[in-house]
């Protein structure tokens, strides 16, 4: 069993365990962890969490049995296996950088709003992904920001985040 797979399975165990813990503490304190279909808010999540722990345990056990028998990683035969690739060098750092940029954008979006942060974020993302022509970068960023704003905010009446300063066009 790969380490990552083990961690993900562990994550599911944590989720199941947390739910049962909540049921045993908060739900009991609120008096909603007993009774039948009408009163028992813990019934459905409790059953699900128990099943999740059972399935996770079964999965781990089956992997261990296969490993002991020397089958190595379980092979799953894929009918569709056409989108396979090798990881591009340096892509890990690029992913982390893009993630940091995205987080920064979302934080700023809440404070400064769509119109100011979006062109800046787009410029930074284009630059990060290899666009080396600054004028083209700026123009495309501004045009994209405005077009998306026009389509969503003006045509569809879906407001964009105005920020704390209420910056609208």
């Amino acid at each position: 069993m790969r380490t990552g797979e083990m961690i993900v399975t562990g994550g599911f165990v944590l989720v199941g365990g947390y739910v049962l813990f909540e049921i045993g503490t908060t739900f009991v304190a609120l008096g909603i962890a007993s009774g039948g279909g009408r009163d028992n808010a813990a019934l459905f999540p409790g059953i699900l969490a128990s099943l999740l722990l059972l399935v996770a345990a079964t999965h781990v056990a089956s992997r261990l049995v296969k490993a002991r028998r020397g089958n190595g990683q379980a092979t799953q035969h894929a009918v569709v296996d056409v989108i396979e690739y090798t990881r591009a060098p340096g892509s890990g750092k690029l992913q982390l950088a893009l993630l940091a940029l995205l987080v920064f954008y979302l934080v700023l979006l809440e404070f400064v709003g769509y119109l100011v942060t979006t062109p800046l974020a787009l410029m930074a993302m284009f630059r990060l992904l290899g666009v080396r022509r600054p004028v083209v970068n700026v123009v495309i960023s501004l045009v994209t920001t405005l077009l998306v704003w026009l389509l969503f905010s003006e045509l569809m009446r879906i407001p964009m985040p105005p920020g704390r300063f209420g910056l609208y066009l």
Binding site: R2, G4, E5, I7, V8, F12, V15, G16, V19, I32, G36, G37, R38, D39, A41, F44, P45, L48, L51, L52, V55, A56, T58, H59, A74, Q76, H77, A78, V79, V80, D81, V82, I83, Y85, R87, A88, P89, S91, L94, Q95, L98, L102, V103, L106, L109, E110, T118, A121, M125, L129, G130, T144, V148, F152, M156, R157, I158, P159, M160, P161
Partner: protein, 508 residues
């Protein structure tokens, strides 16, 4: 009853806004479907906020257009680049790509579009006549039966998803737990909200799906590399004669569409399985099976007719029973509910105009697919030349706008980002993502019917096992699970051979 529904739908559906919205949806769907890594599910989630701002039928027309267009769009990149835009088009490259390599790329693309549209219309006819019958039969269903059906959706998607069935079940169960976050509908108490009022209404399905599929996919595209590479494909026109070319293969077209519709109607299967199955049947039935895989037009017709007919098929249980067949139909159901319409048998009696309108929108989508697909082929082909360094930030921007647009709450952006991480990690370690989406949509239906069944039976759990329909459905689920989970050695001893499982069938 089908004709009555169509007549009632006609009054609400005929109009310029409906035509424009459906056409726009098909156009956008094809564009999104063409680009490898994206797919109709991304289009559905990004444009659901847009649909909410429209009249209900117009909004559903937009979304159905994206569904139909996106399902076909992946064939264009499969034929030209040997990279299917979506897994749905994977089988199309077996003959589509070799046909293009023989210098018949315009015919291959035209055939894919024509077969998709005609197959979709045939699937639509099945939808129109079968779903009222199923809805009528389902009127005898009570909460135990609905619970059992909802469980079927989860179990089937877990069985056919990538990785293993146990992984699919873990993800499905986690998705069901996510659906319990928020206010309990019976005792009006908060569950698992960590004290955050923003979670009182639960985890938003739109930001969740955007994160799981779109955001995670953009980060996966960085792994693939080639950000500044353009394939440099020259644009061309697809011949309108490809329509008659497809029609001349009518028996293959009809058979493949029928297979696609029936496979689609089974919860948890989907277009990928439909297209591979149709391809296998077409090859086995052919007088010249050796031609398959070398660029025979019949191969393209079989796969494309089937995968688009599947769109009509998945709508049958979705509309009639509120059981989505795949993540795309789950999103369509979620949109329908957000528009204020509850899918299921009641929809057919309380809102027949809406049902008829949906039928008409689906048929119109396929007609517009044929017209727009062939007319704008040069534009669609040129889309393939857009470099990822431009595409990735643009798609991320649409993700942010789409996630924010539903509730205009910045909290949803963090939900999107969180599930983006979840989707990335799940995919990386070979866990399926589709069960999470289906479970999130089915979860409230499952819990509601589970608890109502107990209430009506004075909390006797035997209610699920004493009603014939409920016990049959539960037994089918148990047998399917048991069969899939049996060790290979046991299955071999039983003479059942090794069960092949398919990759993630989500249509993203």
């Amino acid at each position: 009853m089908a004709i009555e529904l169509l007549v009632q739908g006609l009054s609400g559906f005929v109009g310029l806004p409906q035509l424009l919205a459906t056409s726009f949806g098909v156009f956008v769907g094809i564009v999104i479907g063409i680009m490898p890594g994206l797919g109709p599910l991304l289009g559905l989630t990004l444009l659901t906020p847009m649909a909410m701002g429209l009249n209900a039928l117009v909004g559903m027309g937009l979304l159905l257009g994206i569904f139909v267009g996106g399902t076909c769009g992946g064939a264009i990149s499969a034929v030209l680049l040997r990279i299917p835009g979506t897994p749905i088009a994977a089988a199309t490259l077996f003959d589509g790509y070799p046909l293009a390599q023989k210098g018949q790329a315009p015919l291959a693309v035209g055939l894919a579009i024509s077969a998709s549209a005609i197959g979709g219309i045939i699937g639509g006819l099945f939808l129109i006549f079968a779903s009222p019958l199923l809805a009528a039969a389902a009127r005898r269903f009570a909460p135990p039966e609905y619970f059992a059906l909802a469980l079927t959706g989860i179990v089937m998607i877990a069985i056919v998803s990538r990785g293993s069935t146990l992984k699919g079940l873990m993800v499905g169960l986690a998705g069901l737990l996510v659906s319990t976050i928020g206010m309990d509908p019976y005792v009006s108490r908060m569950r698992f909200t960590f004290g955050q009022m923003e979670l009182a209404g639960g985890v938003g399905i739109v930001p969740m799906v955007i994160g799981l599929f779109a955001v995670s996919e953009m980060f996966r595209q960085l792994e693939v590399g080639g950000l500044d590479i353009s394939p440099g494909i020259e644009a061309f026109r697809a011949p309108f004669a490809s329509v008659s070319y497809a029609i001349r293969r009518f028996w293959n077209l009809f058979r493949s569409s029928t297979i696609g519709t029936f496979v689609g109607a089974l919860p948890g299967t989907g277009s990928v399985i439909a297209s591979f199955l149709s391809y296998s049947v077409a090859k086995a039935s052919s007088k010249n099976p050796d031609e398959y895989g070398t660029g025979t037009p019949d191969g393209v017709v079989a796969t494309e007719a089937s995968n688009n007919a599947c769109c009509g098929g998945v709508l049958i249980p979705s509309l009639s029973l509120a059981i989505p067949g795949d993540p795309c139909s789950a999103m369509l159901l979620a949109a329908l509910m957000l528009l204020g319409f509850l899918p299921g048998p009641e929809l057919f009696t309380s809102h027949p105009g809406m049902v008829g309108g949906i039928f008409l929108a689906y048929i119109l989508s396929n007609i517009m697919l044929l017209i727009l697909g062939l007319l704008f082929t040069p534009f669609f082909v040129s889309i393939l030349n857009i470099k990822k360094q431009w595409l990735v930030p643009f798609v991320l921007l649409l993700c942010v706008v789409g996630a924010y647009g539903m509730e205009t709450d910045t909290h949803d952006l963090w939900v999107m980002l969180l599930f983006g991480g979840v989707g990335y990690v799940l995919h990386k370690y070979d866990f399926p993502v589709a069960p999470l989406v289906i479970a999130r949509v089915l979860g409230p239906i499952m819990e509601d019917n589970f608890r109502r069944a107990l209430i009506m039976a004075a909390d006797e759990y035997s209610v699920f096992f004493t009603r014939p329909i409920s016990v049959v459905i539960l037994a089918i689920n148990a047998i399917a699970l048991a069969f899939t989970l049996l060790p290979t050695s046991v299955k071999t001893k039983m003479g059942l051979g090794k069960l092949r499982q398919s990759r993630d069938i989500d249509c993203a």
